[in-house]
């Protein structure tokens, strides 16, 4: 999850002007998303009408591809940028609304399994990335940023920890570029591997949620496989996100003890500040659905609102991935990232297969 410059959080400006400034970019996201949906429906319609056997390519892929083409081949006018940056807002709103598709019992079962695997994944990822970074002679704080980004929640985790461990802007840029580049690769690689080894929807969703770093990419990688896999990927990724504060706090204390970062005063306040609030929103909606607060039609409406929010998100994921910018960041952190991510993907796949034998996911 990259940082979003929602107008509400930006500097002093008339709120109405700020909201108006979002409209062009949001319309662009919507246009890309709708075009993606139209392409999916058109291909499906054509192949059905002509009795052609063709795999269903989800709108998710088309939205990302169209976004990538526009973002990399055309210089998007600055007027669109504030609205494009809202993709993270739509992602989080979509996750909260996705809570309507889980009753609490599902969350307790799947979330419990996910949480257990998430603990193992975080520990394993931190160790792996640290070992690889040291082997390649990367700077210590860059190693930490890469480790946190790959263990917890990608770009957000890097940004959250950058301030806490007082890392350089350059290190943060390296780490973010590596995580975003790998996120783009995972969108293609994960669904292909998942289908090749015949993972079930649940197993694949769990794997994507554990191994793909950025929440937007994890959501997209899950949805590219199937609707159910997307749901499970979001739940698993949400469990990972929920732990960000603890990981960042650990690193902040480590660097403060070395005298290279500010000491954390109130640890509870620090944890609350870093805690992703959308996790709470997700649980509130799920609780309301579990208590029968919404009827069946209303639950379907909430689920569809979540899909619309994700549609805008996926368009934004494609638009903001700029390969030229990513390639400027150098090779070494990317090599460490690739090696680390491949090992983490293998580790988490092993965890999922193991968990599947115990719980039949």
């Amino acid at each position: 999850m990259a940082t979003t410059a929602l107008p509400i959080a930006s500097e002093r400006q008339n709120p109405l002007v700020r909201v108006a400034g979002l409209i062009p970019g949001i319309l662009l996201l919507a246009a890309i998303g709708l075009a993606a949906k139209w392409i999916e429906q058109s291909i499906n319609g054509y192949t059905k009408a002509h009795h052609i056997v063709f795999p269903n390519i989800e709108y998710v892929l088309w939205a990302i591809v169209i976004g990538l083409i526009i973002g990399n081949l055309v210089k998007v006018p600055a007027i669109f940028q504030p609205g494009i940056d809202t993709y993270e807002f739509w992602l989080k709103a979509g996750i909260v609304l996705l809570g309507s598709r889980f009753v609490l019992a599902d969350i307790l079962k799947l979330g419990g399994i996910s949480l257990l695997l998430v603990f193992i994944e975080i520990g394993g990822s931190l160790l792996l990335m640290t070992a690889l970074g040291r082997a390649f002679g990367l700077r210590p704080k860059l190693i930490n940023l890469l480790a946190i980004g790959s263990a917890v929640c990608g770009v957000s985790a890097i940004i959250a920890s950058k301030g806490a461990i007082d890392a350089d802007d350059e290190d943060a840029s390296f780490a973010i570029a590596a995580i975003l580049g790998l996120g783009a690769i995972s969108l293609v690689a994960f669904p292909l591997i998942g289908h090749a080894i015949h993972l079930s929807d649940h197993s694949y969703g769990l794997w994507a949620g554990l191994a793909v770093d950025n929440t937007a990419e994890a959501t997209a990688a899950g949805a590219l496989f199937s609707d159910t896999a997307g749901k499970v990927a979001v739940l698993t990724k949400t469990c990972r996100n929920a732990l960000i504060g603890f990981v960042v706090l650990g690193y902040a204390i480590y660097w403060a003890r070395k005298g290279q970062a500010e000491t954390i005063g109130n640890k509870a306040a620090f944890l609350w500040r870093k805690f992703p609030k959308f996790v709470l929103g997700f649980l509130v909606i799920s609780l309301a659905v579990s208590l029968g607060f919404f009827d069946k039609g209303q639950v379907a409406s909430l689920a569809n609102l979540s899909r619309w929010a994700f549609l805008l998100t996926f368009a934004g994921v494609g638009l903001r991935t700029n390969f030229r910018e990513l390639s400027k960041q150098g090779v070494k952190p990317f090599v460490v990232g690739v090696l680390g991510e491949v090992l983490i993907a293998v580790l988490t796949l092993g965890l999922v297969v193991g968990a599947n034998r115990i719980w039949t996911l």
């Binding site: 959080a9 992602l91 989080k92 959250a160 996100n241 909606i285 919404f294």
Partner: protein
């Protein structure tokens, strides 16, 4: 979960309306849920 969170608390105290992306997303989603519940938003299709 981002830079916005850093400004979250300070902004919330100084300028009541300023929230992080995270918090805005939650409030907007909850508002949509309430609108669906009371029937203002109905039959949202996909």
């Amino acid at each position: 979960m981002s830079d916005n969170q850093k400004v979250d608390t300070e902004l919330a105290s100084k300028h009541g309306l300023r929230l992080s992306t995270d918090a805005w997303a939650v409030w907007v989603a909850l508002l949509l849920a309430v609108l669906v519940r009371v029937g203002v938003l109905q039959h949202i299709s996909w």
